[in-house]
Symmetry: C2
Amino acid sequence: MSMITSTQKLEAALTEIAAAGDEGRRIFTRVYANEARAAAKAADARAASGKPLGPLDGRIVSIKDLFDVAGEATTAGSALLRDAEPAARDAVVVSRLRAAGAVIIGKTNMTEFAFSGVGINPHYGTPGNAKDAMCIPGGSSSGAGVSVARGMAEIAIGSDTGGSVRIPSALNGLVGFKPTQARVTREGAFPLSFTLDTIGPLCRSVADAAAADSVLAATAHEPLPQRNVRGLRLGVARGLLFSQADGEVLTAVEQALERLAKAGANISNEALDDLLGEPFRLQERGTLVAAEAAWIHRQWADSQPDAYDPIVLGRIRRGQTLDAASYVGIQQARAALLPALDARMAGLDALLLPTVPMLAPRIDAVQNEEVFLRTNALLLRNPSVFNFFDLPALSLPLPRGNGLAVGLMLVGRRGADRDLLALGAAVERELGQH
Amino acid sequence: MSMITSTQKLEAALTEIAAAGDEGRRIFTRVYANEARAAAKAADARAASGKPLGPLDGRIVSIKDLFDVAGEATTAGSALLRDAEPAARDAVVVSRLRAAGAVIIGKTNMTEFAFSGVGINPHYGTPGNAKDAMCIPGGSSSGAGVSVARGMAEIAIGSDTGGSVRIPSALNGLVGFKPTQARVTREGAFPLSFTLDTIGPLCRSVADAAAADSVLAATAHEPLPQRNVRGLRLGVARGLLFSQADGEVLTAVEQALERLAKAGANISNEALDDLLGEPFRLQERGTLVAAEAAWIHRQWADSQPDAYDPIVLGRIRRGQTLDAASYVGIQQARAALLPALDARMAGLDALLLPTVPMLAPRIDAVQNEEVFLRTNALLLRNPSVFNFFDLPALSLPLPRGNGLAVGLMLVGRRGADRDLLALGAAVERELGQH
């Protein structure tokens, strides 16, 4: 396609990182300049000989700082693990990326232990939003989103437990994809929630998301099936998940829906709040994420509480108060709710909604803990519903001129990840034509 | 095979129940004489016309009192649910039994909520052991075991969360089979533990167990593959699960092992206590079963504590004290332990051990709560390990003359339930020849 070599792209990305100075160090916690140059050179040689490894060969990829890289401590955005035992081997997804020829440029900054959607990190600093550096980047894959939006990587690999791929994608104007949980192995990724963690890409196009997804999932590289907007059955539930929304977000989303309708999509109003509200009602006294994090952090939370971001520690402490019976009850209710929503969505190709209901707030506005917690809850609200229901979800950037970014979330059917990506490519094409 | 009709067998069984008087009412909480007669007649008509439905057609089957039967309250051995809302439909396994032509003679008594292995029930009485009515029947499928051993049914369907099929099989001289959990749907069975509950048969031969299992699992009816004892690789771990054993139990098991060795089986000593002891170490502060029961019983335990067997309530109360993080930790550890034991058993066809390490104690000896709890723990010890590891397990009766019964447990590979049954048939044949 392009005649630009991997080496040229890598050098341009490294130049961007260097030019950003301290901000570069808030976006990347590590830069692998030498290894990346060797990988780019090898990819260029394969390209020159007409034998590329696949669609990710020679692409510039950043990885979130919770994936194991052999020989390095995996900090997961924490001070606590800065001097942890080095990982014995690469995370499985990192191995797959390397085997596919990806040029891993560095590790990106994140919320401590991936446990919030704002993107603030008191230990390694907070990268500014790519649209306006005074604003939050979104999290927990904060550096991941900014790395792609600022041209420091073509594709970032993040993790998403309650929106951590989709929130920074929405707030930085990117495509972000959270797969069905079982699609991508989490081996070698520092866990937040065994039940809800997923791994997916942040990038500039659905085609790139599909290419990255096929490598992460270790499936065959095939182009996405061609789909048209005409005739797509798109459901919109203008209730709970459209509430408390910024006017600009609603406007952008409604304009996109109008365009899709004009292009022949069948857009239906769906009343789903009885089900979409269940994750919140069920988890009022404590969440699956917090209970599972309480297990993962049981020793450190007692032995080194001062090493934590106090807000993250507070959420872990809350998880410690949940009783096992209530946890079992949430899991049982969830097992019954999944097929209930599946049945209600059976007549739809996708559900459409704002990825997050707000524009990125300013970093200085979320320093107050109460504001932080309210903002965090609202950022996580929409994305987290589809971790709970284990449905694949894709955030697409909406046309916005030079302002802050708005994301449109498309939610598909469990296990039909490629169908959702194909549908997303059709929507992306339609929205990009105007 | 036999020319005895289903109707004749049914009448003989009904006569046994009636002849047992009050004891019959402690074994069966319900007898479906009329429906059973109609079912037997239909089966006889199919047999006469040469069109039987399969190996269970016309067989006399009892079901444990925790399976839903449409239109009846499912008491699960409790007083609490005596007047519960009637079940809307049959449990799936009950439907499958009916569709296979089984003649369901009645519902059998059980430990309250299936929550102990002794078989005592303060509400509906305690059936005496079929070998000696002064002794415990074993539980929780107490009536199930006694119903078959006393000729009141040919096959009993029980549930097994920590041994509830295998313990009464061992103590009443029967074959008992606990499948891999995923093999048989639990829909319509009153739950004890979502993680560990399984459904399986108690009967007089491995062939009957295999026939019942294929109906419960809704797989095609096929005869078991023929296997020989010669060359079987049988592992024996004479450690933790051989400890605290009655001399008579050890003698019977060692004699059986000698016979199998003489017949050409390769019997190897296996050191597995590091793994087999893990379920106990992990669950010292609280068990998966107790935590899940605490969820299931959360409302009744508060609103109607006096309706419970105090010993069952005590175990539920203990489950209420476990925190969610510890529960998550047990589940995570279990997920890692399963493949660890699989790997260590990879070179074996089966593991062999005493089903329970004791002969049935006298009912009057377990009235003391401390003795009860110690006995219960020892009865559950060996079987429960293989619920934890989710491996199929088969208990075979050992030749014992007229004394109390001893069971030999064969443990197979997860999902290879039919292989274990085939192997069990070979062992049964060999041990029956002497």
